[in-house]
Subunit: 146 residues, 2 copies
């Protein structure tokens, strides 16, 4: 089972509304996460992907990137705030990607181990099928000890 | 047919993913819009409403408030960016509300009439069934001429 398989099982069980929108983990490894959302069923009356689906495909990356990076038995992430900026209409399936350096991930876990929580910022880029950036997000998350 | 009835028909036709999440217009009048989302089907594994549903119930207010304020045959709104700040876990149905003064709405329409578009900011507050604020949003929208 890959991290992406695990992430999709977790997404379906833990975040049913995101899963119902067709949001799926595409690639999850240490320091990197990507998720996808289909245009099918997610378009508005202009055939443009709804703003909330673009939000969701990027927002879930905070949870996905935590899977290989942190001990899932000890820690869980939550989102504190998130800003999304729309650049172009998304007329196709989309892919959101985010990454964090190893040293940042190590520091987050160390702070959470000592203080029970640690805030972290995750920037994501959402592209359409042609690779054009359709939206960007900046999210503030917190890793918390159970 | 009330503005809220019209808004719900528009929401279902124009933004199917939002409608599928159970987001509904609750009250729509000149200068004011409210929308609701149910916890049923929208919880995560902690029983907390998913971040993306809270985003959606607030984001749609930019469209709803435009219905009684602007000539729907001439203008349509779109969202340019939106920041949501989560304050407390939402464990119940929620309600999002936003308002704009009459003078602001008049100015937006006048600018859009002259220049074909006009940006406007809409702040929304999301409360749970007990009236506790669970999230706040600040969205930048644009009214555009068809």
């Amino acid at each position: 089972m890959t991290y992406a398989d695990f992430a999709n099982a977790a997404l379906e069980a833990a975040v049913p509304p995101a899963h119902a929108l067709g949001v799926r983990a595409a690639e999850v490894r240490f320091g990197f996460a990507a998720a996808t959302a289909p245009i099918e069923g997610n378009g508005n009356h202009f055939g443009v992907m709804y703003a909330g689906v673009l939000f969701t495909v990027a927002e879930v990356l905070g949870g996905l990137i935590a899977i290989p990076a942190f001990d899932q038995a000890k820690y869980y992430p939550l989102v504190k705030d998130l800003k999304i900026t729309y650049k172009r209409p998304a007329l196709s399936d989309v892919r959101a990607e985010a990454s964090l350096p190893e040293e940042t991930l190590r520091r987050i876990e160390a702070v959470a181990a000592e203080h029970g929580k640690c805030d972290f910022t995750l920037e994501a880029t959402i592209t359409d099928a042609a690779g054009t950036v359709v939206a960007e997000t900046v999210g503030l998350y917190q890793l918390r000890a159970h």
